[in-house]
Each structure stands twice: as C-alpha cells, then as structure tokens.
C-alpha cells in the first residue's frame, strides 16, 4: 500500500471533497484541476453531499486478495446528486437487494488493511439511504 499517496487523497477519501468549476459551475469528482465540461482550470474545492443513486453495479465474489475479507460485495457506479459518477463499494446491503436507481448515501468505512500490523485504510462507500430502510 502506498502510504504517502493515500495520505494525499484523504480529503476526497474521507469527505468526498472534489472541485467546482468557477467558469461553468460543474461539480467535479474525483478532483482533477481541469473541468471536464468546459476544459477551464478548476481548483476551488467542493464537498459533495454524499447523496446519490445506483447507476450500475456488479456483484463480486472473486476479488483481489486485499478485499477477500469483505466478499461477497457489490461494486457500483454511483451518480451523485451534484452530477458526477463515482465508482465505490456498496455496504450494509446484501448483493441480491441492490437495484439500479436505489438511493444511496456516503459513509466512511474500512477499505482495506495490511495484515494485522499494517495501516488501516479508511474511505468512502455507499449504503442504502437510511431513511428508506428504517
């Protein structure tokens, strides 16, 4: 695991901090400093609400070694309410209950850990919107 690289990404990982284009107003995630809509430079940071819906998904049972511990789980493309699409793991939901268009919200969870002695990596996942399930 690249500790320095993950450390630099902590604002976007922990809080969904992206950017907003001062030129056309487009919201950008992940941050890339150039607006994908109008190609102007975009450096003003913007914290997303974390709300969105499932745009597409696939259930994974065979996964990379570092994610074995969490299987089976679902990877989804989530359409944030501000516009951008984000790839993320879904949590607190059984794979057979996931549907396209399902309202979801961002939570910060354990993404992976390096054995029992290494660093624990935390970051965003999405779960079914709480007020829809309780």
């Amino acid at each position: 695991m690249h500790i320095a690289q993950n450390w630099r990404l902590k604002a976007q990982r922990y809080r969904l901090v992206g950017e907003v284009c001062e030129h056309c107003g487009a919201k950008i995630f992940p941050p890339r400093d150039i607006c994908p809509n109008c190609s102007h430079s975009a450096k003003e940071s913007f914290e997303f609400s974390g709300r969105g819906e499932v745009y597409s998904f696939s259930a994974l049972s065979e996964t990379a070694e570092k994610f074995q511990r969490f299987r089976p789980y679902t990877m989804a493309l989530v359409k944030l309410e501000e516009g951008p699409l984000v790839t993320a793991q879904l949590t607190d939901v059984e794979p057979d209950k996931v549907k396209i268009g399902m309202p979801v919200e961002m939570v910060t969870r354990r993404l992976m850990e390096e054995g029992n002695e290494g660093i624990i990596l935390y970051g965003y996942k999405f779960r079914p919107m709480l007020d829809k399930v309780a």
């Binding site: 969490f70 607190d92 969870r109 624990i120 935390y122 309780a134």
Partner: protein, 349 residues
C-alpha cells in the same frame, strides 16, 4: 460538583448503531444447548468494515448536522473507547479529518473502560467552560468483544454517540453540573495484547456497578439540591437490562423516567456508547424544560453523573439527523456462524 464559570451546553448530538443483530438465543443455542435465560433480547454487531473510528465518524456527522456550526470552529476532537483500532495512532485524528475539523485542534483518545466517552465530555465541559474553546466534539464508541461462551458474549455490542459542546446560550440542553466518583476496583480488565477481557465474576455488581453509580448520583443530587422527582428522564450505564433498572429504583427513579433511555434489551451493551446512546434517544423526544439525569460507569472503576436541562432550541434540531430509534429499527439478524466471521473469531491458520 463540577461547574464551570462559563455555562456550557450540548449544541449538537448524534448516535450510530450498526445494522447487524445477534439474538441472545443464538448464543444459548451454540453454548448452552438451547437451555437457559438471557440477559437481553439481542445485541448490535458491527459489519466487517466497521470499527470504533467509523462508528465515531457517523455519530460525529450526525452531531454536526444538529449543531449547525462550521467544523473549523471546533477546537478539540476527543474519542473515548476501549476498542481503538490502533494501539498506537489516535482514532481522533481520523475522525477529525473526516468531519473537516482538522488541523487546528486538540486531538486525543480517552480510555476508562465504559466511561471513556463521558470522561471526554467532562474534559470538553472544562475546555469550553474556561473560555479556551467555543466548541468541542466529544465521542464515546466501542466495538466490544466477549470471549466465546463467556457471560459477556451475550451483551458485548457496538455503537457510539457524539456531542458537540458549546456555549450554553446555543445549547439544545444546558449541562447544569457534573460529578465523578472514582476508586481502584478490579472488577473487569483487559491486559495489553489480550484479545478478550477478564472479569471478577460476582464482583462486578455490588462493589463496582451499583456502588459507583449510586455514589456519584447521590452526591451530585445532594450538592445540587435536587431529587429523582425533579427529572423527567434518567439514563444509566446498561451492561444488561436488570442492572440499570435496579440502580434506577435504588435512586428513586421510576420506569416512566428510565424506559426511554434503556436500550440494552435491543442493542446490547455498547460500552463507551452505553449511557450516552441512551441519552441521545432521550434528546430525540425530550421537550424544552425537561431535566435529564445521566450516569455512566466504567470498570476499574468510576462513574460520571450529569444533570441536564433541555432548552427551547431542541425541537428544531431533533429532525436534522437520523434518530437513535431509526438506527435501532434498521436491523439485519445474523446467526452465530456469520457473527463469528464478522467479529474475527475464526482463526485461519
């Protein structure tokens, strides 16, 4: 009693409880051949990607939704727990980053068995009360472990609560006063590096739980000149259902006063989250003018007692974040096998 020169209040509060539930009858089935009574109905179990840090983050976000302040105004983020994911590396720094409060803050992890969270709250009362800070985030959260087959396994659960403390004028509740009672009592402990705690069996009741809670509670009420009848609600540390019911009766509180905050029957003992998650459930329904009496208990041992009064600002804040009962209703039952996997009780040699 502890009372600051500048009056302090709870500006925002929030809870978090994981969605998985292990019914106590599952433990009876596996360990007692299906025969025997149970101390609670079921307990909350954290998912594979949850720990004290992730629980603290969601509880803190809920507290921020109700506090309605800029996270950069927070001057301290303190997390009380006996299950910090790291032995060395603070939980508080990760929580502070996740809520946007870093970097000009105090950060630290607190430990005092199940009263680590209320100890952090008291430190926050001092920090705000002295005028050194305007806002403090104080959290109590745990993912408690019980040795398989041990009595504690029925109840050891997961959850947490977070409080933004600030000037009383902005509070949804004012902290009227607080008081602690602490002695060296070896009722329950876990040595460095040990996976599961040990306890002094029958020693955990009278000389530990009941003695410390009643001592702190009686002294605080005596110094304030209040009695049980002055409070609409009361909440106590809840390692099971019977202990808090009995200690409430010993102090003169009725079922009507303690039932709103007594959650252990359906979520178990959330350790550092226990009495304070109960407090959040009370704040979800309390009305302006209501007084609340709250006492934690931490093994080793000690109790922190608090006297609170709800202000007219509470009703408008209650709906700004999910209620504690919402998390209790969000429920996915699991069996002992899945529980063993979720809690890392299976060793893959």
């Amino acid at each position: 009693m502890l009372k600051s020169q500048r009056s302090v209040g709870i500006v925002g509060y929030g809870a978090y409880i994981p969605r998985y539930r292990l019914p106590a009858r599952e433990i009876v089935r596996v360990w007692e051949g299906g025969v025997g009574g149970v101390p609670i109905q079921e307990k909350s179990v954290p998912g594979l990607d949850e720990d004290t840090i992730t629980i603290s983050i969601e509880a803190a976000r809920n507290a921020m939704l109700r506090a309605q302040i800029d996270p950069q105004q927070i001057r301290a983020v303190w997390v009380g727990s006996e299950s910090h994911p790291y032995a060395v590396k603070p939980s508080s720094t990760i929580v502070a980053e996740a809520i946007g409060a870093a970097p000009f803050i105090q950060g630290g992890d607190w430990e005092f068995a199940c009263k680590a969270g209320t100890e952090a709250i008291q430190a926050g009362l001092g920090f705000v009360g002295s005028g050194m800070a305007d806002y403090v985030m104080a959290i109590g959260a745990d993912t408690a472990q019980g040795r398989p087959g041990d009595a504690l396994e029925y109840t050891a659960a997961a959850g947490g609560a977070a409080f933004v403390l600030g000037p009383a004028e902005e509070g949804v509740a004012v902290v009227e006063a607080s008081l602690s009672y602490v002695t060296d009592t070896p009722d329950f402990w876990r040595r460095q590096g040990a996976s599961y705690p040990s306890h002094g069996q029958r020693f955990t009741g009278e000389p530990a739980y009941f003695h410390h809670i009643t001592s702190a509670a009686k002294k605080l009420m005596a110094e304030m000149g209040t009695s049980a009848a002055d409070y609409r609600f009361a909440v106590f540390h809840q390692p099971n259902v019977k202990f808090p019911q009995r200690v409430a009766a010993m102090l003169g509180f009725t079922k009507e006063q303690y039932e709103t905050g007594l959650l252990s029957g359906t979520i178990g003992n959330t350790y550092s989250g226990s009495s304070i998650i109960g407090l959040t459930a009370i704040l979800d329904v309390a009305k302006p003018g209501d007084r609340i009496f709250s006492v934690s208990f931490g093994s080793g041992a000690g109790s922190d007692a608090f006297s609170l009064q709800v202000t007219e600002r509470l009703p408008e804040r209650q709906k700004l974040a999910p209620s504690t009962q919402t998390y209790i209703r969000r429920r996915k039952e699991i069996d002992y096998a899945l529980y063993s996997r979720y809690r890392g009780k299976l060793l893959l040699a």
